[in-house]
């Protein structure tokens, strides 16, 4: 086992100062980094920045309008948070599909976001609600919309001296969000397809439609053509059929050890169709 030197700052400013040196690889819950270290495939990090003591990165809160989640919030905490239950149940649902209890108790939403796996389970939900990520460095803070955060395969918009601080999103009562993950088995499963659907409804038509997927591309993505097709309509059967067809056309998944391109394409369309049927009530 590789054991690089580690520093465990107690405050965010210390953490940012250390991060600015460029030599530290951050660790939150360790459920990704420790696996990578154990696999010993790439060059190990020079040093590790242990964020686990930085209290400023923890906690879920709301001002009644916007929900703020600290980057170090674990999946278990998301599942048990009354704020998340009330405002974005789909995120709690996504958290409940990650690994099993042991992983949920340690893994963090910030880690999920920064690890940038195309299969990250919470990521489509965050895309679907237009979440904004606050990132910080010694140079100050800036905000990055989720849609701009994952730039290519396992790459993010974070600069080398930045840390993800918090995740913010607004969801009011008229917004509905659904989540579905198709994994390799019932628990401890990496997704073959993971999809989040979000929309605003006035009872007659949908607006601000978001369809976000993971495991079908190098990054989590929004299916913008599919979204455009749903925008302004009520998802009746014809609309749903067309949306599914557009989605199947829009994505280019691959064959890999977990599944096949054909399966992912087909299942993405079917899962979307099912969610549209359920949300459309027919």
């Amino acid at each position: 086992m590789i054991e690089p030197p580690v520093v465990s700052p107690a405050t965010l400013s210390e953490a940012l100062a250390l991060r600015s040196s460029g030599t530290y690889r951050p660790i939150a819950g360790g459920t990704d980094l420790m696996v990578q270290l154990a696999a010993d495939v790439a060059d190990p990090p020079e040093a590790v920045l242990d964020l686990s003591r930085v209290a400023e990165l923890k906690g879920v809160s709301t001002d009644g309008y916007e929900v703020t989640i600290g980057a170090l919030t674990t999946y278990t905490e998301l599942r048990h948070s009354p704020v998340i239950s009330a405002r974005l149940q789909a995120l709690a649902e996504a958290a409940s599909t990650v690994g099993a209890a042991q992983i949920q108790n340690r893994g963090t939403i910030g880690g999920n976001i920064c690890n940038a796996s195309p299969a990250g389970d919470t990521l489509p939900v965050l895309l679907a609600v237009d979440a904004v990520f606050d990132v910080g460095s010694v140079r100050g803070e800036r905000s990055v919309p989720a849609a701009e955060f994952w730039t290519s395969y396992r790459q993010t918009a974070l600069a080398d001296d930045e840390l993800l601080l918090r995740i913010r999103f607004n969801v009011d009562r008229s917004r509905h969000t659904r989540f579905r993950k198709v994994g390799t088995r019932a628990a401890q499963a990496i997704s073959k397809v993971v999809l989040a659907l979000s929309y605003r409804s006035d009872g007659r038509a949908w607006s601000d439609v978001r369809v976000a997927l993971g495991s079908v591309a190098a990054m989590p993505l929004r299916a913008t053509a599919t979204e455009a097709g749903l925008e302004g309509h009520w998802p009746g059967e014809r609309v749903a059929d067309e949306a599914a067809r557009v989605l199947a056309d829009e994505i280019s998944p691959i064959d890999d050890v977990r599944s096949t391109a054909d399966y992912r394409r087909s299942v993405s369309a079917r899962v979307l169709h099912r969610l549209l049927r359920e949300e459309g009530g027919w």
Binding site: R185, A189, D241, R245, V257, T260, D262, R270
Partner: protein, 767 residues
């Protein structure tokens, strides 16, 4: 929750059940009428005190690693070592450094311990590396590369011209019989690799001995296999090679012959370095390089008469043995002998061959050839039942062997045939007939919905489709043919000078309950409590070679040996000391010192089996099983959720109900995994699913509700009537699931595992 219908786990002990049949064989002379004790080593395992190999501390030990090929077929030209590393800190060994024969001895001598000039599979051991600490070892490993010249590989057994074994069986006249059959159903079935996935990785620690030999401590099923292999490779005498088994975390066949490889490697290094060497695999290496279940292609033709009788079978079995022979001939043999299924058929032709490919060698895994052919024979029956529009259970009832039936090898089943009993028990417990009837009533609608779902992106209102399926199987108890005669195992019982009764067997506890059940058998004969019977350490310098812990033979065969030895010991002590053994044995030991009785295997009857023609009595007896599975298929994703499996298994005699149920439950879940999610993909001869995150076994949330029903059709040839329980359950759940998928959605999945990708593709193909 399991429900042992036919035996009661009560203080009174198991209740004997013999299936009602005329001309019954004589009841066993020694029943088991003592209460089943709790697992002997249970408390140790539950407190964390039990020491598995990696838990053991050997001061001064070095760490060993195996340098492996990354190509499937190549000429090996040499090792390259980076110059910027201090090689004096480590030890490297290659084939030329092997003092004995460079071979891993099992059946053929074709597999080298370390590659010489040709690499035959990915992950083949080419060199050994050892260092005094893990960090140095890790660094050194990165600085070694292999110089090779690629050679063309063969990955498809159908393309291979290197055969490990072939067998052919003919009974009656299948050619003519097919001409007269009114229905012929034909199919080709494929089953893939399966990884045993014992939760404890392969592990060996070797210590050099003052006498020039090596002591091995490790995770294993068969200490004497390791002993044999070590002697050959290191050129050691019987006494110089000492093999001891540490607590072992699962085997399932994966630790039958592979441990010899690890032991040889660790021993070579230990001998060279003069210090203990730890060779503990990590999960990735274990999956990437160790033996797996043989993939197979089974081509099957079944002929049915106008009266609905099974009149002809023509079966071809092709197994993929991987690069080296290992146990392939024996796996093929069992596969061929079981390929007809538990059904009487007057005209049978079975031809099987096991072929080499440039993939890691395949070998033993619970079931050992029977699960592979079991999938095929059960899908044939299922499809025939569908063609004839008759209940799959009813068809099996018509065709299943009865006492007096004749197998394809010409063996008359004189006794202990419980096919009908397990069929009845499983179908009753699962309410099969009613559920099937209801299911059939809605079948047209359900299959229509499934077809609609398959047709396009349209989903149906209904999201899942449920189905019920059934399968039967059989499993020859113990070794095939003359295997037991040739092995000539010896087991012993000793009354020590210290007054302690000891069992001297080399059969290992690997979770199945050897340490609990074997003392029960001896205790009953001696008339003492099981707690008064100790087990001698599994150490080849202490215990005799009672044969490997495989083939579900431990209780049936070795139990028979120790029963006889115990009976002789009891007679001797009672005669000499006067009085009942239980009362006098301690005094006897004080007076007479140690008394050891060894019993060697002798067959009660002449075993008439011709290996070449595969005719005659293949097994002393067969175990019989029937599984009923209920599944739910997700019409959007093709995911198959196995809700329940009822498995009725005839084990001859239940010695310990809780442990026997445990074997049925565990074997059933492994079969569920085999049937649904345990997919092993290969690319250029390399396993792609080589981590626990990618080789998917069932979690508790994937596992169905499993109900084990233990049936007893005792076999007169083992003193307590037992026929083995470890493997039989593995043979039935997978085809039952595939039958259930058909009931649910109307498609036949003819290739295992029935992954969601395959199910969805089958639904979509209907359109």
């Amino acid at each position: 929750m399991s429900d042992t219908r036919k035996t009661q786990a009560s203080a009174e002990g198991p209740v004997v059940l013999t299936p009602p049949a005329p001309g019954q064989a004589a009841a066993p002379t020694l029943g088991v009428a003592i209460p089943a004790p709790l697992r002997r080593e249970g408390p140790h395992k539950l407190t964390g005190e039990a020491k598995y190999t990696d838990d053991l501390v050997f001061p001064g030990a070095w760490y060993g690693a195996t340098i492996r090929s990354t190509e499937a077929h190549a000429r090996f030209l040499g090792l390259e070592q980076d110059t910027d590393f201090d090689w004096s800190k480590v030890v490297i060994m290659m084939a030329k450094d092997i003092p004995g024969d460079n071979v891993v001895s099992i059946i053929m001598d074709d597999m080298p311990a370390l590659a010489t000039d040709e690499i035959e599979h990915v992950a083949q051991p080419v060199a050994l590396l050892a260092a005094p600490d893990k960090a140095t070892l890790r660094e050194a490993r990165k600085r070694i590369t292999l110089r090779t010249e690629p050679l063309p590989p063969v990955f498809d057994p159908l393309d291979s011209d290197h055969q490990f074994a072939a067998y052919e069986i003919t009974k009656g006249d299948p050619g003519s019989a097919f001409d007269e059959a009114t229905l012929v159903v034909q199919g080709e079935y494929r089953v893939g690799h399966q990884e045993q996935l014992y939760i404890e990785n392969q592990a060996m620690i070797a210590e050099p001995r003052p006498d020039g030999g090596v002591t091995i401590t490790g995770s294993m099923q068969c200490p004497y296999y390791v002993h044999s292999a070590l002697k050959r490779a290191l050129g050691l005498s019987d006494e110089q090679a000492v093999i001891t088994q540490a607590e072992t975390g699962g085997g399932f066949g994966g630790k039958e012959d592979y441990p010899s490889v690890v032991a040889i490697h660790a021993a070579l290094l230990a001998q060279r370095i003069g210090k203990p060497v730890r060779m503990i695999y990590d999960r990735h290496e274990d999956i990437a390089s160790t033996t797996k279940r043989h993939p197979a292609i089974v081509r099957y033709r079944s002929g049915v008469s106008a009266g609905g009788r099974l009149v002809a079978q023509d079966i071809e079995v092709i197994m993929d043995g991987g690069a080296y022979c290992t146990l392939s001939p024996v796996v093929l043999s069992r596969g061929v002998l079981h390929a007809g299924g538990p059904y009487e058929c007057p005209n049978v032709h079975i031809k099987g061959r096991s072929m080499a490919t440039n993939t890691p060698p395949n070998s033993a895994f619970r079931g050992f050839g029977a699960p592979q052919v079991g999938f095929a024979h059960e899908l044939q029956v299922a499809r025939i039942a569908a063609e004839l529009d008759i209940s799959p259970a009813e068809l099996r009832e018509r065709w299943a062997y009865r006492e007096g039936g004749t197998t394809p090898s010409g063996q008359v089943l004189h006794e202990s045939v419980a096919a009908l009993e397990v069929l009845r028990e499983a179908t009753e417990a699962a309410d099969y007939d009613s559920v099937l009837q209801l299911s059939r009533q809605t079948r047209a609608i359900r299959w229509g919905q499934a077809a609609e779902a398959g047709a396009g992106y349209n989903s149906t209102r209904v999201r899942t489709a449920s189905g019920i399926g059934i399968a039967m199987g059989w499993h020859g108890a113990g070794f095939t043919g003359r295997g037991e005669v040739m092995m000539a195992s010896t087991a012993g019982v000793e009354l020590g000078a210290d007054g302690v009764i000891r069992l001297l067997i080399a059969n290992t506890e690997i979770g199945q309950g050897t340490n609990t059940v074997m003392p029960m058998i001896v205790a009953e004969v001696l008339g003492v409590e099981p707690s008064e019977v100790e087990l001698a350490p599994i150490d080849t310098s202490i215990v005799p070679n009672s044969g490997p812990t495989v083939a579900s033979r431990t209780v049936m065969v070795v139990g028979g040996l120790v029963s006889k030895a115990a009976a002789r010991l009891r007679a001797l002590v009672e005669e000499r000391s006067g009085g009942i053994f239980a009362d006098v044995y301690r005094a006897d030991a004080a007076a007479h010192g140690a008394t050891r009785i060894d019993q060697q295997y002798e067959s009660e009857v002449e075993v008439e089996f011709d290996d070449e023609t595969h005719t005659g009595d293949a097994y002393p007896a067969f175990g019989w099983a029937c599984a009923v599975a209920r599944v739910e298929v997700d019409l959007d994703t093709g995911e198959v959720r196995v809700r329940s499996v009822v498995s009725a298994d005839d084990v001859g005699r239940v010695i310990h109900p809780l442990l026997a149920e445990g074997q049925v439950e565990g074997g059933t879940l492994q079969a569920v995994g085999y049937g649904t999610i345990e997919e092993m993909k290969l690319e250029e001869g390399r396993y792609l699913n080589d981590r626990l995150s990618t080789y998917i076994i069932p979690t508790s949330m994937d596992a169905p509700d499993i109900k084990a029903i233990l049936v007893e059709a005792p076999f007169s040839g083992s003193p307590h009537g037992a026929k083995g329980v470890g493997e039989l359950p593995m043979n039935v759940a997978a085809p039952a699931i595939v039958d259930a998928i058909h009931d649910a959605v109307g498609v036949w999945i003819t290739e295992l595992p029935a992954t969601s990708e395959k199910v969805l593709a089958a639904l979509e193909a209907q359109a």
